[in-house]
Subunit: 229 residues, 2 copies
DNA sequence: ACCTTTCGTTGTACGGCGTACAGAGTTTGT
DNA sequence: ACAAACTCTGTACGCCGTACAACGAAAGGT
């Protein structure tokens, strides 16, 4: 199955053959940020990765922001959309499974998560996810404006959670083990003095766990309960 | 009341008098991003704003990230923490009022919102907000780990919402009127074809309103219901 | 077979960025 | 009066995004 972006799919095109493809550019950008973190993402670095002059990338990507959009779209495509389909499984289970899968996919490429708050999620993968999410909420009994509204609340929760989680890492892959990140947070939180902030000091252990899958899952359940009861 | 960061508060300090202060640097940075958007934030631009060479800023701020942290801390301080205090008013009303106030403060300086997903929220203003939020959830009847967990869900929702809302603006102040932003979104969403995405096409009007205070408020209520029932 | 059009890639260049380093000048404690 | 401490400037380096022109390969028309 040939990609639409390859040259031969639009026959009769003049000019020299392309040495790259949008897929190769995206893959190189992903490799780069996985290895060196999101701050390393630049047109020049990706071009160097591909053994090409920086300007060559402008054939495949309009500008630097295009690189970011491509990474976001790629990441959205990593979570299995089939998880949202039913109705053999409960709507709640479907949404839960997809949310956890999307979170896992983003944590697996931590530099990509912050880009979701910057680059618009309007590619086909995002559209498809939204469509099936609307279906799952409809299966949950929501009607009228409620499914679309619930959809946004869920997106905000999932994307916001991952972005905030990843914000305190260096963005390189693989992300540190959850236990280690919790321990780091606990050590930092242990600094807060109990006198001015007693409740905070008493909650240090739980707050250290804010970045865990357990916290994410707990919150996800609470959000879903709030949304459909 | 003199700030600790001013020179006279630490008497006996040698060297020439400071021409600036951390507050003036933060204010200049805020003015800059309000006028020209978050992409304009740079050490050199802020220095130019203050009529000083770029290096002079390093006396007040460790690096470029320090500028971002200062803006986040300033924004957190803009929402009235008294709104979270009680217990004369219901815990639910207090959290609602504070969440709406924080959202309004961030929307009033749209370039700052994305920084909250990047720069850590660990300044005194953030600590204070967390402390009082824990109290409000405790007043709501939550016990054990629940208040701290609920706290994070709420932070994720509020900060995530604003960041995603602001992501599709240019970051300059003032942000466009809500109606205009909705209209822009509706026009863009009208492009999606009903054939592959029927539910999405049917929900265009509601999805256009994802960035409204009405949607934020609706979701906030659902989240709070999920969190404490 | 030629010639022309088309287009991917390179070479070069500009202005902006963060910030390291050394030095100048001002203020204070001794 | 002197020395120490400190703020700011001058300068420099290596990055960045990307505009522009020129080159060369491939394909179409004749």
């Amino acid at each position: 199955m040939k990609s639409v972006t390859e040259q031969m799919s639009t026959p009769g095109k003049r000019g020299p053959k392309r040495t790259l493809s949008e897929e190769r550019v995206t893959a190189a950008a992903l490799d780069l940020v996985d290895r060196e973190g999101g701050a390393a993402l630049s047109v020049r670095r990706v071009a160097a990765e591909l053994g090409v002059r920086p300007n060559a990338l402008y054939t495949y990507v309009p500008d630097r922001a295009g690189l970011e959009r491509a990474l976001v779209e790629w990441a959205m495509g990593q979570a299995d959309l089939g998880l949202l389909d039913g109705p053999a499984r409960s709507w709640r289970g479907r949404i839960r499974d997809y949310a956890l899968a999307l979170r896992a996919a983003l944590l697996d490429h931590p530099a990509v998560a912050p880009l979701m708050m910057t680059a618009p999620m309007d590619g086909p993968a995002a559209l498809e996810a939204g469509e099936r999410l609307l279906g799952a909420f409809a299966d949950g009994g929501l009607t009228g404006k409620a499914p679309a509204r619930a959809c946004w609340v869920l997106i905000v929760y999932v994307v916001g959670s991952v972005a905030l989680d990843v914000a305190e890492t260096d963005g390189t892959r693989p992300i540190a083990a959850e236990d280690d990140r919790v321990a780091t947070r606990r050590a930092r939180l242990a600094q807060v003095s109990a006198a001015p902030w007693p409740r905070t000091a008493a909650s240090v252990d739980t707050m250290a766990e804010w970045i865990t899958e357990r916290q994410f899952s707990w919150g996800l359940d609470r959000v879903l309960v709030g949304l459909v009861g």
